[in-house]
């Protein structure tokens, strides 16, 4: 069903625009616009952009086939005025620059020189002081509970391992997951369209959270679920007996965190409030603009804005401190350890157990960590690493890991007059291949087996460089390979001539054929051979027999042939 007509009508009526005005905005006549609203014509990309700009909505909202769109209370008269003023101001500013330049050419040149120097310095500084790796700051892809490990793969799908007693690992079907959280016996997923899905949750709560829309952040405790919507409003459901949902309906919030039986909210000014009970809660009043929080029954670890970790523990655990760690981007803790992930992918841990410390020492390129009371998990984007108690097989790596397929090998291409043909060796476990050439439309082919793929040369330009790209496609336990790339220059091949062996023709026809190609007669040498079978002089053999030669090869070689001699009467 096409929802565009109802969406267009709804938006236009909400803002009280006429159809003729919309037609003008979209650059069409009114009857054409009416076709959009009655579903007999479709808008273009350019028109989508204009609608997105006019109605102040994301282009995705226009492109998505749904009539659910945000309707803002906008005074259109004011909006138009603002736009006009903006463009007028812009024009005046540019004019002033031009005027200044024409009157002060030397000063202007110095200013431009200084600006260039500042840009160069900025680039040098940027390379010297590397920014934090955004991938490692994206800590939403991994979550653990006491019994399960769940992560989001490269394809935004959710995968998990461990105990599935409540169905918390069943039907994790999201294809657009951006954050995943594990509670005790349930999984909550935040999707890229602002909706939430769950597994293992009792239907009362599952139905409730599936009704939450435009969610931008989630957090989960042992038995409660927090959602933050795009307007900064907090939702909370689940077991409210611990007081973990006491701050539900709070406004102007930009981030939500959960402990086992508590909730922590950070407002738009970075100020923290909390509800429920957990260790270290009273210390939160000393913090603002934090990056993350991890908690267990004995520990509260706060990842501060300066990428350091502060640890609050029960008195008996004073040995746990993380002051020496720098550049931390993720934090986790259990009953007797605290761990931090630094910007370089290295995991640090404070724990009274040297074998666990040694095991973690081997981990590298980790992008996220999370922990339960007695085990810690690291995730490098592909594999799960675990230390500690594994009694629910939460981190049996072989079951969790999706293997990346090998790239194809022995790729060869041939160019004939009409096609570029690509051939390569098959890859074990590949379910297919995507082969493409960067020549424009219709140049990607998906094939099931490693067979010859042909691309028409019609749109290729003589002497231009092109790239053949091949990806092995993975399914099930395998993910797509990296892209194999092979560059080539397209040169239209020379015309070729094939000479069959033992072809019988008269000497006269043979020479005429060669001369027709352009071979000079001085290059053609005949000699007498055996007697002919009849009175016709035919070619017995040539040095071209069984060969395929280009025109230039033919023109630059001496061609020798033997002809039969006619018997004398």
């Amino acid at each position: 069903m096409n929802y565009l007509p109802s969406k267009l009508t709804k938006l236009r009526k909400h803002y009280n625009y006429s159809q003729s005005y919309l037609a003008e905005v979209l650059g069409v006549e009114t009857p054409e616009y009416m076709k959009y609203e009655n579903g007999s014509a479709m808008i273009s990309y350019e028109q989508m952009k204009r609608l997105s700009s006019l109605y102040h909505i994301d282009l995705v909202e226009v492109f998505r086939n749904s009539d659910e769109v945000e309707l803002y209370e906008v005074n259109k008269a004011n909006t138009d005025e603002i736009n006009i003023e903006f463009f007028t101001a812009k024009k005046t500013f540019i004019d002033k620059i031009k005027e200044f330049y024409s009157q002060n050419k030397i000063t202007s040149t110095i200013i431009v020189f200084l600006l260039i120097m500042i840009i160069i310095m900025f680039i040098v500084m940027k390379n010297t002081f590397r920014p934090f790796d955004p991938v490692r700051e994206n800590i939403n892809r991994l979550s653990v509970s006491e019994t399960t490990v769940v992560y989001i793969d490269d394809y935004s799908g959710v995968n998990g391992s461990g105990s599935n007693t409540n169905g918390e690992l069943s039907n994790l079907t999201s294809s657009g997951a951006i954050k995943v959280c594990e509670g005790e016996g349930f999984t909550i997923i935040l999707n890229d369209d602002g909706t939430m899905t769950s597994a293992g949750l009792i239907s009362k709560y599952a139905n409730e959270i599936e009704g939450w829309k435009n969610i931008t952040d989630i957090a989960v405790g042992n038995a409660h679920i927090l959602g933050l919507d795009s307007n900064g409003r907090v939702r909370c459901t689940g077991d409210e007996s611990s007081g973990a949902c006491d701050l539900a309906d709070s406004r102007n919030i930009k981030k939500v965190y959960a402990t086992a039986y508590g909730s922590i909210l950070m407002d738009n000014d970075g100020v923290l409030t909390y509800c429920g009970s957990f260790i270290g809660s009273s210390s939160l009043k000393n913090y603002y603009n934090i990056r993350d929080i991890a908690s267990s029954d004995n520990i509260l670890a706060i990842l501060c804005n300066d990428h350091s970790i502060d640890v609050y523990t029960k008195n008996s655990m004073n040995y746990l401190e993380a002051e020496s760690w720098d550049d931390i981007v993720d934090v986790a803790c259990g009953d007797s350890y605290v761990a931090g992930l630094d910007r370089y992918g290295k995991v640090h841990i404070e724990i009274d157990n040297s074998s666990i410390r040694n095991e973690i020492e081997k981990w590298s390129n980790i992008i996220a960590i999370d922990g339960a009371s007695d085990y810690l998990i690291g995730f490098d984007g592909k594999k799960i690493y675990g230390v500690g108690n594994n009694k629910y097989n939460q981190f049996v790596k072989e079951e969790l890991i999706k293997q990346r397929l090998d790239m194809v090998s022995n790729v060869v291409y041939t160019i004939d007059e009409d096609y570029v043909s690509v051939q390569f060796d098959s890859v074990s476990n590949a379910s297919g291949y995507i082969v493409s050439i960067d020549v424009g439309i219709g140049i990607s082919r998906r094939i099931e087996k490693a067979e010859v793929v042909k691309f028409e040369t019609e749109n290729m330009t003589e002497g231009k460089n092109y790239t053949i790209s091949i990806v092995s496609v993975g399914e099930g336990d395998y993910t797509d390979s990296d892209t194999y790339k092979l560059n080539f220059t397209y040169n239209k091949p020379e015309e070729t001539y094939t000479f069959d062996e033992g072809e019988i023709m008269s000497e006269e026809v043979f020479i005429a054929y060669l001369r027709g190609i352009g071979v000079d007669e001085s290059h053609i040498h005949g000699k007498e051979g055996d007697y002919c079978e009849d009175d016709k002089v035919t070619i017995i053999s040539t040095n071209l027999d069984g060969r395929t030669l280009t025109k230039s090869e033919l023109l630059n070689m001496d061609i020798e042939y033997t002809y039969c001699k006619v018997k004398e009467e």
Binding site: S44, K49, R64, D193, S436, I441
Partner: protein
């Protein structure tokens, strides 16, 4: 007027114009589960979830 190549198709290389996308849909080279995006959109949207599924319906109708 120059046609802007704006659309990207997940799994395909290169960028495509509106017309090329519509042509690919009508020729069945873009399946309902293929995702599209452009530089103004931060997400991939599957063809079947987009308003361009309108052209897919054209294909169905023509087949029928």
């Amino acid at each position: 007027m120059k046609k802007n190549k704006v659309w990207r198709i997940k799994g395909f290389e290169g960028v495509f114009t509106d017309e090329e996308i519509i042509d690919l849909i009508k020729r069945g080279e873009i399946k309902p589960d293929y995702a599209l995006t452009c530089k103004e959109m931060k997400k991939w949207v599957k063809l079947k979830d987009s308003i361009y599924q309108y052209y897919m319906e054209d294909v169905k109708n023509e087949t029928v």
